[in-house]
Symmetry: C2
Subunit: 272 residues, 2 copies
């Protein structure tokens, strides 16, 4: 075995495993010199399943590098089984329970909760309604019911309106519409007419001409639409429009949809 053999990393959860993956990967970014082989095992909900996972991990441990485990199992029974495996177990729940018990002056229930479950049914329903709303109002395809929007993302084509809208709806339950800016909008005076009553709900996206041109080239290579000149014109015009109407905006070129969504929530003071 060479030094370059990847170290096995397990993300274990009694739920979806998303939190274990996300926090585990954030922690791993602190150790950039290493090479990891990642495996997610969600829905470990019975003692028998937990023991089967331990058997698998032990076999891997016996065959090579000591594995790392990130666990978000909430059940204290499942946790106590998982921690017996021959790996370095980073228990993202159990580690913090004693501190919380002390701070709150009560004992933890030890019962599994579901951060990614249905949870609060009303909140879940409203997230699903937000997804439906976002689908119906994508790319200005329906201008009915814009008054229901909590935010309207405005931008030239391919600046990230659609995925950001979807993320705001799915993750945060925000009613988000989006509206594409096209050449005619820049040639006319003022804001596009459908947006005028709702300027206070508008949030603009911009990009860098080079980045936008690259993205548009993937879709329509060699077209005027993808040219650096056209991208530069649209972005400049869009930013002028945003500034003239005091529409807050951000450059989407170097940020992710998650970061854009969090920024929009914060800047527009949206409740989620």
């Amino acid at each position: 075995m060479t030094n370059d053999a990847p170290r096995p990393v397990y993300f274990l959860s009694d739920s979806t495993g998303i939190t274990a993956e996300t926090l585990g990967n954030t922690l791993l970014t602190q150790f950039p010199g290493n090479n990891f082989d990642r495996i997610t095992v969600p829905f470990i909900t019975t003692a028998e399943q937990a023991r089967a996972v331990v058997t698998t991990i032990d076999a891997v441990a016996d065959a090579g590098l000591r594995p790392l485990v990130f666990s978000t199992a909430v059940s204290s029974e499942i946790r106590s089984i998982l921690e017996t495996c021959k790996a370095a177990v980073v228990d993202l729940i159990g580690t913090h329970v004693p501190q919380l018990e002390a701070a709150l002056g009560t004992r933890a229930s030890g019962e599994p909760g579901r951060a990614h479950g249905l949870g609060n049914a009303a909140r879940y329903q409203s997230r699903m309604a937000a997804v439906e709303y976002a689908m119906e109002h994508d790319d200005g395809q329906s201008l009915r019911a814009l008054e229901k929007a909590q935010v309207i993302l405005v931008a030239p084509s391919r600046c990230g309106k659609t995925p950001t809208t979807m993320y705001l709806a799915l993750q945060h339950g925000i009613f988000a519409a989006n509206f594409p800016l096209v050449d005619e909008d820049f040639e006319r005076e003022g804001l596009p007419k459908p947006l005028r009553p709702f300027v206070s709900k508008c949030f603009g996206l911009s990009s860098n001409p080079l980045r936008l041109s690259q993205i548009r080239t993937e879709r329509r290579s060699g077209s005027p639409y993808a040219s650096l000149r056209q991208c530069g014109y649209e972005l400049r015009s869009a930013e002028q429009l945003y500034m003239a109407h005091r529409i807050p905006f951000l450059n989407s070129a170097t940020v992710s949809v998650e970061e854009m969504a969090a920024t929009i929530l914060q800047r527009m003071n949206l409740k989620h």
Copy 2:
């Protein structure tokens, strides 16, 4: 102040705050008798911003119940400022660093990483391409390029196809299409024709008649479409279809989109 006054809970992050919220809320589900007032502060990236947050929290602490803080700040400088506040600080990063340093035999970099940033650019691009694909292939609206799908969600109307498809694309970068089952599909023999070449990629969703009828009633109250009889017929027929063609399926009535997505990844053995 009464015993029922909510305890302030802060989710602090140098990134989006999503992980702090998710893991923090999972931990709080272990303490069901308490009442919490939640505030998320994302993008704390400078020492000055961190000190401003500490000042805010200290003022809140002086006025009432000792706040709880869940922090996912990665920068050791930011962490060291945040931990000085007059709150119980649950440091979801710093707490685990020593254990990882020991396991990996190297020091943590202390530099901020971005779990919800662009990260691996190729992986991010493929997630965005997956969102675009999901939008184009929602509700069977485009049957072109079904061969590109990694999974095709099949179900009667309102069983959760669309939000689950979006979640698979946005969170996991999976190319997911979906296909609605309607009465004509149940009256004919066999699978709907567009699905036949791709049966191995199909995953079915079902629901409970009562739940489905409630959801459809919100959309079209009193319609035959929303009737318990029609919902029961469609769900029974859909499940028979799934079983006849060995299409794996799950009941969406009591699980979230996150749970459905994680189950589909696992059952279909999809790489993400």
